[in-house]
């Protein structure tokens, strides 16, 4: 995730000159409600303190995030809901890039802090968001109290993504700590991508490869509460995520970052147009289906893999195993 942060810095250079634009409306795309613990409380959503909000950024950086962990994870950012006087607020810690990279090392130009925003205001700049109940054993009120306290303390963003140093925090670190403090499970980082090109990028940024704490680690279908965003349906959103899963699956040990991403003369990273077009098309695969599959339905994977084969050529259903001599996972080095 350290690489991700640095690339955010690169990307921010790109967006700095874009000015403002009106944001598309946020739509509620689904809600899991019942007469028990999930009564609708806010725009049809059963919102409660301590719920986890996962978001997917519309920026090209999301195609960098997807390559950082060894395993695929959906979503790019995670935050916590706190209901205050009936209104859901979202607390998160976010890194920003200074307007200019005055320092040679990109990571030295990233700074950030905790934010408190209304739910829809928070979701609006994103492509998509899903809300999940906290893990079993975690007290939602305590999770919310934890993030409120960190906000009050003025916790800073950890621009070095060091999960073992809690003096500064990054988004998933904050949420993992909040859940653990509330009696929930201990959430540990996952191995990062052993692909040599990714390792090279992380070394360049001065970020030790080996670990990642992806936001999507907090997404558990069994705890799904509701969805909102710019897609028309959850099926469209999860078809888009399936496309990113396919991109990750195809990023085998012999692939280079440049096969999916590009960098310009000023260090701005972007996603190659054929890659973003593929993901965008995936989001429309079931537009005309009178019986579209729900998220998790194998029809989504099958359709996306066919689209990938049509777009980029066939690829084995099972990715080739690493060959002898391939770089082993950094965590094992």
């Amino acid at each position: 995730m350290k690489l991700a942060r640095a690339v955010i810095a690169l990307m921010a250079l790109g967006v700095a000159g874009c000015g403002t634009m009106s944001l598309p409306p946020v739509r509620v795309l689904g809600a899991k409600t019942d007469e028990g613990a999930h009564k609708p409380t806010y725009n049809g959503l059963p919102i409660k303190s301590g719920q986890i909000v996962l978001t997917e950024s519309p920026d090209a950086t999301s195609y960098v995030f997807v390559l950082i962990p060894k395993k695929f994870y959906a979503f790019t950012h995670v935050a916590v809901i706190s209901v205050e006087d009936g209104e859901p607020w979202v607390y998160d810690v976010t890194g920003e890039v200074k307007t200019f990279p005055f320092k040679k090392r990109l990571m030295d130009n990233v700074t950030g802090k905790m934010y408190r925003r209304r739910l829809f205001e928070y979701v609006a700049p994103n492509l998509y968001a899903e809300i999940y109940d906290p893990p079993a054993g975690a007290d939602g009120e305590k999770i919310a109290a934890f993030v409120r306290q960190k906000y009050k303390e003025g916790a800073e963003f950890d621009s070095y993504f060091d999960f073992n140093d809690h003096s500064k925090l990054f988004c998933s670190e904050l949420v993992a700590m909040a859940i653990e403090s509330a009696g929930g499970p201990v959430i540990k980082p996952e191995p990062s991508n052993p692909n040599p090109s990714i390792i090279e990028g992380m070394k360049w940024l001065g970020v030790p490869p080996g670990e990642a704490l992806p936001a999507g680690l907090f997404a558990d279908p069994a705890r799904y509460v509701g969805a909102l965003g710019q897609f028309h349906t959850r099926t469209a959103a999860w078809s888009y995520f399936e496309a990113k899963r396919e991109l990750h699956r195809r990023f085998t040990m012999d692939q280079r970052m440049g096969f999916m991403l590009s960098i310009d003369g000023n260090g701005r990273v972007d996603v190659r147009p054929e890659i973003s077009a593929f993901a965008a098309r995936a989001g429309h695969l079931f537009d005309n289906d009178p019986n579209p599959p729900e998220p998790g339905d194998p029809r989504i994977e099958a359709a996306v893999r066919k689209l990938a084969a049509d777009s980029f050529g066939p690829f084995p259903a099972t990715a080739p195993a690493p060959k002898p001599g391939d770089t082993p996972p950094v965590a094992a080095q």
């Binding site: 995730m1 519309p58 260090g267 054929e274």
Partner: protein, 96 residues
């Protein structure tokens, strides 16, 4: 106007400060003719050529559009990619 020139000068200076070594630029280079990219439009080079698996019925249904009104060949879905393509919003939604 003078202030604006200074601003541009700072921008150029800042851009020049980014240290992107040649090795990293090479990692971001697009696939050459000899590279085995799994993302090349058309047949990719990494996996052995395999035949397309039979498309599941549902998948085939998913990409089928309504028959053309004139009874001719059905056209592929209109491109409506714009609403989910990555865009630069200038907002901080793309957080870490």
């Amino acid at each position: 106007m003078r202030m604006r020139r200074s601003f541009i000068a700072i921008l150029l200076l800042a851009a020049g400060c980014v240290d992107v070594p040649d090795g990293i630029r090479a990692e971001f280079a697009g696939p050459g003719a000899a590279d085995r990219s799994n993302y090349r439009p058309g047949r990719h080079g990494s996996a052995p050529p395999v035949e397309d698996p039979p498309a599941p019925k549902a998948a085939a249904t998913a990409v089928t559009t309504e028959p053309a009104a004139d009874g001719g060949v059905a056209t592929p879905p209109a491109s409506t990619d714009g609403d989910v393509a990555p865009v630069s919003t200038g907002a901080d939604g793309g957080a870490v």
